[in-house]
């Protein structure tokens, strides 16, 4: 028996005893979540009710059984599992195969010799007591949800003229009841460690309110603050829209590169259309319109800046569980209105802000792409505010990157067929309106002919030129 196995043995034994004890009494340690208890279990869309038998435990057998039943080839097969192997040759072989063993050898030995007890059945007294408390609370919440749903049903069935307050009051009441049900649904699951684990691992089902709630809480932390700060400090709010508050998470990728909001992007990187990851936090699929616009196009004639549309697509379906939105892969006929124009900035111009906006369309309405093409294919002078007002859109998501002239911009502009590679913007020299001042100070005074005797001291002072 190797040292790592020896270390893991007492733990395994104690666990085994606990298991026997538990299984002999009752299966009280039932998960109170309706999702799969472990991440390696398969998740079904319609999980069985909680009154059924607990999930099968101990997929791996204990050491003793293993040693008793091990024939040579089965043992070898078993040792080639990267999660449980402890043999040196197997480790080396696994590394060569490209699936290196997981964790330390000690850990692997512990995993191998333990019965694969599900997390929520781990025999720790305080933990089990805590789970009982939480389970009871969850049952209360589920019962409350049922009663609230019955209330909603009853209210929906009664005609509006029998409800005190009429149609308006009925709708208000229904809305507040539904909101309460949503809150209860979140509260029922918020204390579940399995839910927390699944969310942290990124396996959360965004169609469920609890995972959306957790995702929103996470987004409202740093990312949302960052985006709102960029909106204010890059002056998006008065320049592009008079008022704007993002409610959805938008992440921007160029190929594999993730763009931090407001980052300066090399023009060669932003030559291809970006890929967006839009996470909305309310239920339901909806159609959105995507706009990428440049709000700093310099105009030398008017000595000002203008706006330009770099990309426009509409009728793009988005839901909480389908966040991916590659701008290069939208439907050319039914969704794409203005194709991607690479971000560029001419030489000498200050940085260009390229803002990406996600605008939610009215529910159940599709936009006329032909009309959009006709309106906006000119690109120049694009106004997001007028676009929003014309089609009744609601801006929900935002991200931004900046671009400036760099060594690749000339090539990018050439490939995109944009004229103006050779243009360089320069600031006009502004001369002071004040008259010239006479030189003042000790040196200036002593350099007058009156002080000729002192010139040998005052002549070679650095910064004064008095070559005669």
């Amino acid at each position: 028996m190797s040292s790592c196995r020896r270390v893991a043995r007492p733990l395994a034994q104690s666990l085994r005893q606990e298991r026997l004890l538990q299984s002999s009494t009752t299966h009280f340690a039932r998960s109170f979540s309706r999702s799969a208890s472990r991440q390696d279990e398969v998740t079904t869309t319609t999980p069985p009710p909680s009154s059924t038998t607990p999930p099968p435990i101990s997929s791996t057998t204990s050491i003793d059984q293993l040693e008793a039943a091990a024939t040579k080839p089965r043992m070898q097969e078993r040792l080639l599992d990267p999660d449980t192997t402890t043999a040196h040759w197997a480790e080396r072989k696994l590394i060569r195969m490209g699936t290196p063993p997981v964790g330390s050898r000690r850990r692997r030995a512990a995993i191998r010799s333990s019965e694969n007890v599900p997390f929520e059945q781990l025999p720790y007294q305080a933990f089990q007591e805590a789970r009982k408390v939480l389970q009871e609370d969850r049952e209360q919440k589920v019962r409350a949800i049922a009663t609230e749903l019955a209330k909603i049903k009853r209210l929906e069935d009664t005609p509006a003229d029998q409800v005190p307050g009429g149609e308006r009051k009925k709708n208000l009441r229904l809305a507040s009841l539904r909101k309460h049900v949503q809150e209860l649904k979140i509260l029922a699951d918020i204390n579940d460690p399995v839910v927390k684990r699944k969310f942290e691992d990124g396996f959360g089902d965004m169609n469920k309110p609890i995972y959306r709630h957790l995702a929103e809480k996470k987004w409202r932390g740093m990312p949302c603050r960052l985006i709102t700060q960029r909106i204010s400090q890059l002056a998006i709010v008065p320049d592009v829209l008079p008022k704007f508050e993002p409610v959805a998470d938008v992440q921007l990728f160029f190929r594999r590169i993730k763009v931090e909001p407001g980052e300066m992007i090399d023009s060669r990187v932003s030559e291809v259309p970006p890929r967006l990851k839009v996470q909305v936090f309310n239920a339901g699929e909806r159609l959105v319109s995507v706009v990428v616009m440049d709000s700093d196009v310099p105009n030398a004639e008017t000595d000002s800046f203008e706006r330009r549309c770099h990309y426009l697509a509409a009728n793009v379906p988005i839901g909480p569980d389908q966040p991916s939105l590659p701008l290069g892969k939208v439907d050319k006929e039914t969704q794409l209105a203005v194709p991607w124009l690479p971000a560029f900035s001419q030489k000498g111009a200050p940085y260009h802000r390229l803002s990406v906006f996600i605008l939610e369309q009215k529910p159940g309405e599709t936009m006329d792409i032909a009309k959009l093409r006709e309106l906006y294919s000119g690109r120049d002078g694009f106004s997001l505010k007028s676009y929003r007002d014309k089609f009744g859109l609601n801006p929900v998501g935002f991200n931004i990157f900046r671009t400036i002239w760099d060594e690749g911009t000339a090539g990018v502009m050439e490939r995109a067929g944009v004229p103006g590679v050779d243009v360089e913007f320069k600031f006009k020299r502004v001369y002071s309106l004040k008259g010239e001042k006479k030189a003042r100070g000790w040196e200036a005074k002593r350099s007058k002919p009156k002080y000729r005797g002192l010139w040998k001291y005052s002549r070679n002072i650095h910064g004064m030129n008095r070559k005669r």
Partner: protein, 146 residues
């Protein structure tokens, strides 16, 4: 000098002790040592848990918070219930008449009496302060002259 004084005699004298104070740099004041040992300033090490243990810890923490919240709510509810029931009882008394030929509200007045509450033969504290809930029938005597 008391018998419990343990300072050596030569140190206890005025001049000598002054000299002792000057050369105090070699060891810190025992009062400071006392303070330091009784009030440890070092920040305790953070809890470093592996995944499962952290999750178990979190579960227990959440259950404890939930329990505390329920206790708080239960206590508040109980207080509210007691207050309401006292209120109902007082209202009932106010609307009953009797005993015998007593008029309506007599029992209420008797029940609200605070005789002896503030001590033997003492005055309720409300009467020593300006009253707002039971103003006088004539709030201000305008015709008063000295």
């Amino acid at each position: 000098m008391s018998a419990f004084h343990t300072t050596p005699a030569d140190h206890a004298k005025g001049g000598k002790s002054k000299k002792k104070r000057k050369g105090k740099g070699d060891e810190p004041d025992p009062r400071i040592i006392n303070l330091k040992s009784s009030m440890p300033r070092a920040v305790p090490a953070p809890l470093r848990f592996a995944r499962n243990r952290a999750l178990r810890h979190w579960t227990i923490h959440r259950a404890w918070l939930l329990f505390q919240r329920k206790e708080r709510e239960r206590e508040a509810h109980e207080l509210e219930r007691m207050y309401q029931s006292m209120h109902n009882a007082a209202e009932e008394l106010r609307q009953t008449s009797g005993p015998g030929t007593r008029e309506e509200g007599f029992l209420y007045r008797v029940a609200m009496e605070k005789k002896g509450v503030y001590g033997h033969n003492a005055v309720p504290i409300e009467y020593a302060r300006p009253q707002t809930e039971t103003p006088a029938r004539e709030p201000w005597n305008h015709g008063w002259t000295r």
